[in-house]
């Protein structure tokens, strides 16, 4: 065992003296969290909505006043008045406004006659997020408008009351679990995979192989050293990330212990995967070419940035075997729901089993000769 410690000691001493590696594996994911979190997370505001009133009667004026109220309060959109539809549509095509709401002639008359008049929304659907926000705001607004008018005597329609069981989760918090796993992955990739191949290419391994170090001691040493670095990166991300994203009670000791367990299990799973990938590679260029693609292949299908239910079938298969998926799920439970370890039992089991299987394969492939 002292030989295993010697390998770990050597690796951690080197790690301490490579500030670049520390910065890359810890600060980069934090930057990513902040930039992505705020780039995607914010509420959409100040979309320019053209309003063409071809009716001019009192109900139409009331409707326009409601639009202005939205513009003043929720600020989802600002209204721009148009006198004719053709000019408004022209501006929509030219990108000066995001949508055109047309109140047709005879709108008021049909409304008062008890018919269901329609207002039309022409929208720029190239930006799905903006058009969805616009549609959502206008649908809600028209719903509210309808309640103001005397309802015809109809059978009571069922309505949906939504109860949110957790506090509102901003996107930056939703992104945090994925970012923690990404920090562990980046650290495992650089501190495990790339360093392993570089050391091999520089002949450092040759120095080890002529000593009486056993094959298993080498494998254990390399992987525990890589995992230790990944755990450090993961825990830095857990604490700093929670503080930045505004997770409630981020430094609760019980939760930190639970997080530590999940970070360790995740680090072991990812470092063993990395070891399997590089165990027979000698060319230092290979990981640089492969790891970018690998990152995309594992991170995005994991549900870290978008729900898995939205994926096509083939991508769901990747999500099913991807250790990222289980790690991300585990961190979501602990961070966003504060569930405790019982709720992530299967995640821990999968990551543990993944480590054992992958490590066994890597051990079988590892050669103690050149």
């Amino acid at each position: 065992m002292h030989r295993v410690w010697a390998i770990i000691e050597r690796d951690l001493r080197r790690f301490r003296r490579s500030p670049t590696l520390i910065v890359v594996s810890m600060v980069m994911p934090l930057v990513q969290l902040v930039v992505l979190g705020y780039a995607f997370g914010g509420q959409i505001k100040h979309l320019r909505l053209g309003v063409v009133d071809q009716d001019h009667a009192v109900p139409a004026v009331q409707l326009r006043e409601m639009f202005q109220a939205v513009a003043a309060n929720a600020r989802t959109f600002d209204t721009v008045g148009y006198s004719d539809l053709a000019t408004a549509l022209g501006d929509l095509r030219n990108g000066r406004i995001s949508g055109v709401l047309n109140i047709p002639p005879r709108f008021s008359r049909r409304l008062l006659a008890g018919e269901s008049p329609r207002v039309a929304l022409a929208e720029d659907n190239t930006d799905q997020f903006s058009s969805a926000a616009l549609q959502g705001a206008l649908t809600a607004l028209l719903g509210a408008y309808q309640q103001k008018t005397p309802a015809p005597r109809l059978a009571a329609a069922p309505t949906l009351s939504v109860v949110e069981i957790y506090p509102y989760v901003p996107y930056i918090q939703y992104l945090l679990p994925g970012t923690i796993v990404l920090a562990i992955f980046v650290s495992a990739m650089i501190g495990g995979g790339i360093i392993f191949i570089d050391d091999k290419a520089r002949g450092l391994h040759e120095g080890y192989l002529v000593t009486p170090v056993h094959k298993f001691e080498l494998i254990l040493g390399f992987n525990l050293a890589g995992a230790a670095k990944a755990v450090i990166a993961g825990m830095v991300m857990v604490t700093c990330g929670s503080l930045i994203a505004g997770i409630p009670d981020p430094l609760s000791p019980v939760r930190l212990v639970q997080m530590f367990i999940l970070v360790v299990v995740t680090a072991l799973a990812l470092i063993s995967m990395m070891f399997l990938l590089v165990v027979r590679v000698n060319d230092p260029l290979v990981p640089r070419a492969v790891f970018g693609v690998l990152n995309t292949m594992l991170f995005f299908p994991s549900g870290a940035v978008y729900p898995i239910n939205a994926f096509p079938e083939w991508m769901k298969v990747i999500a099913k075997v991807d250790p990222f998926t289980y790690a991300v799920h585990g961190f979501k439970e602990l961070l966003l729901k504060n569930t405790g370890l019982a709720a992530i039992g299967f995640d821990l089991f999968y990551l543990g089993a993944f480590t054992v299987v992958v490590m066994a394969a890597a051990t079988a492939l590892f050669r103690r000769t050149l």
């Binding site: 000691e9 001493r13 040759e206 120095g207 002529v210 000593t211 009486p212």
Partner: protein, 333 residues
């Protein structure tokens, strides 16, 4: 006096990569306490041989015993009893000199107190005491090599393998490395197997030399005996402005000439008496009306021994190997 068992015994050791045999049925024995040199150009199979003996590469066939242990059957016993300095610099740049030695001492399971004492003594022996806590990335090539030699000795092995320990070092560092090796050998009663392509080093420091070319053993003896084994005591290298037919026979007939070899218009004459042959040679050239373009006379060196046994000069072989390597790199790009 009973003879001690040999430190290294190699019997028909072979390593083939596909159709190409890097080491081809080599057999030799290295006695305890001797400095044994493997001499040959790049690609001769020296490194493959040393890698087989140090358990890094499994042999295709044949056997090798190091310190009495079979390299294939008891590799861990072999590893425990040898120190190895690979050709590439393998010390850790981010660690200090002491840390480099300490990590390796731990690989050999040396207890803490002994480790401290050994490291102090070794750093003193390789003249790096003042650099004990300095990171290796600030070391010169010669210092790194000396540190690696110390690293190979942390577990006090009796057999020491060095693969081209002075390649890439400046002349001053080369001398200091070899002086240090001679001292360590004396003080620690080491058996040393070293590969080199520097003839002068091999000549001065090795008790016996094996000349290896294309994976085969061409000659094996002490430097003195090797030099005596080839014809002549002097070598005359001469080139002429023109060469008439039968000129080589004329040269061969000169007094004291033992052998004549022609290579690209340069004639190499092995002579028992260099000055006398030179005078006669010049006279013969004058009579035949041939001008002498260049001429040199020198004592027989290991280079001549190498030429005699392999049929080509070591420096040519090195050059062609270098050309091959560079073009190979270009192809890869």
């Amino acid at each position: 006096m009973t003879a001690s068992p040999p430190a290294i015994e190699v019997e028909r050791l072979t390593k083939c990569f596909g159709d190409f045999c890097a080491v081809d049925a080599l057999s030799f024995t290295v006695n305890c306490g001797e400095v044994f040199g493997l001499l040959g150009p790049n690609g001769a199979g020296k490194s493959t041989l040393i890698r087989m003996l140090t358990t890094l590469v499994p042999p295709t066939s044949g056997t090798a015993r190091v310190n009495g242990f079979d390299v294939a059957r008891a590799p861990n016993d072999v590893r425990q009893s040898i120190g190895v300095i690979p050709q590439a610099m393998t010390s850790d740049l981010d660690l200090s000199a002491e840390e480099n030695l300490s990590i390796f001492a731990k690989f050999y399971g040396i207890p803490r107190e002994q480790r401290r004492r050994t490291i102090t003594a070794l750093l003193e022996a390789v003249d790096l005491t003042a650099w004990r806590d300095k990171p290796v990335k600030n070391f010169s090539g010669g210092m790194r090599r000396r540190l690696e030699i110390a690293r190979g000795l942390v577990h006090e092995p009796r057999i020491f393998f060095l693969d081209e320990p002075t390649t890439g070092l400046d002349p001053v560092s080369r001398v200091s490395v070899w002086e240090m090796l001679s001292r360590l050998k004396r003080e620690r009663d080491l058996t040393i197997l070293v590969t080199t392509h520097y003839m002068d080093e091999a000549d001065k420091l090795c008790d016996r030399i094996a000349i290896v070319d294309h994976g085969k053993l061409k000659a094996l003896d002490s430097p003195l005996k090797l030099k005596a084994s080839i014809p002549g005591r002097n070598v005359i290298e001469v080139s002429f402005t023109s060469v008439p037919a039968g000129w080589a026979d004329t040269l061969r007939a000169l007094p004291e000439v033992a052998e004549v070899k022609a290579e690209d218009h340069v004639f190499r004459l092995a002579s028992q008496n260099g000055p006398r042959t030179t005078v006669e040679l010049m006279e013969a050239a004058r009579r035949a009306g041939i001008g002498i373009a260049s001429l040199s006379v020198q004592s027989t060196t290991l280079d001549d021994v190498f030429v005699h046994y392999t049929g080509h000069q070591l420096r040519d072989a090195l050059q062609s190997a270098a050309v091959y390597r560079i073009s190979h790199l270009r192809e890869r790009r």
